[in-house]
Symmetry: C2
Subunit: 178 residues, 2 copies
């Protein structure tokens, strides 16, 4: 998909394609459509990030709360989004043994209790051995810095999902903006 195609989309198509760039937050894609045309992947991505950065703290926490636990209830029940299912699978989180899964559930619960949002991590940049270590480490962080870290992970996930959709075309098919 190239940017000429992206810039020609009506809002219905745009939300169909980009609605889950930020997990379960089609509102953000639907808002970003207002900023078209986009000059390339980076420009499009920057509009997603600017929207996130401009939200009040409750809204930023709200974004995090729309994310599933890693190796959590949604994975067990088969109710993950397609994107999250693929990402957790690539990190090996869909094939944990019972002990590792219970250990992660316990850490996830502690994290949710401490910060009021779930542990968010770009799973594709991690693996089954690293996830619980990183979770245990971030559990010790201060709430203010942890919110920033978690939003940084949301942006990494968004970048990877946008790259999946736009791939190499996004750089080669830059369009002239008016």
């Amino acid at each position: 998909m190239d940017m000429v195609k992206v810039n020609s989309m009506d809002f219905g198509e745009f939300v169909d394609v980009f609605g889950n760039i930020v997990e379960k937050c089609p509102l953000i894609a639907a808002a970003v459509w207002s900023q078209r045309p986009f000059s390339g992947l980076e420009d499009l991505e920057n509009h997603f990030f600017a929207f996130i950065d401009a939200l009040p703290r409750s809204g930023q926490e709200g974004i995090l709360r729309c994310h599933p636990d890693l190796a959590g209830r949604d994975l067990q029940q088969g109710t993950l989004t397609a994107e999250s299912q693929r990402e957790q699978s690539q990190a090996g989180l869909t094939s944990l043994d019972t002990d590792d899964r219970l250990r992660l559930q316990q850490l996830n619960a502690q994290y949710r209790e401490r910060f009021g949002f779930p542990f968010v991590l770009a799973a594709r940049l991690s693996d089954r051995a690293t996830v619980p270590r990183e979770l245990a480490r971030r559990l010790q962080c201060q709430p203010e810095s942890e919110l920033r870290t978690a939003l940084g992970e949301v942006k990494k996930i968004s970048h990877l999902r946008l790259t999946d959709l736009l791939g190499a075309h996004s750089h080669s098919a830059r369009v002239e903006l008016p």
Copy 2:
């Protein structure tokens, strides 16, 4: 459900229950959870409305763009949310004859083209005869005032959905705020 119960919910439960108060915008419910405890339905509702009002214009348009057309593609394909299905059914929009449905589709398309968001109306406060008349009327409005009208309809829908969930209990079970 009374407010004691609502105020005791963790964010996962809260988003499960209130995630579609604003159509397909669980981000808003997830943000509102930060404002607990709530003294009653009106207080809870005001936090939803305050979040909507504080969004930049693109975000407000984004909320509208997460709504389906009335008697549109999602209804035909069976992909409406449960709440929207019920509301459109109560307004008689699920049993239109072909001529009426095509007329509405045509008006919806004109409206989306003119304003850049879909026609949003609290269907439960309307009926199959009124919907196309109101759509044709609002199609003539100025974009600025039409955005305000449409967000007012989002709030009416949210109010009705909250009342469905909280009903009479919400007034009788007020809790003391700290």
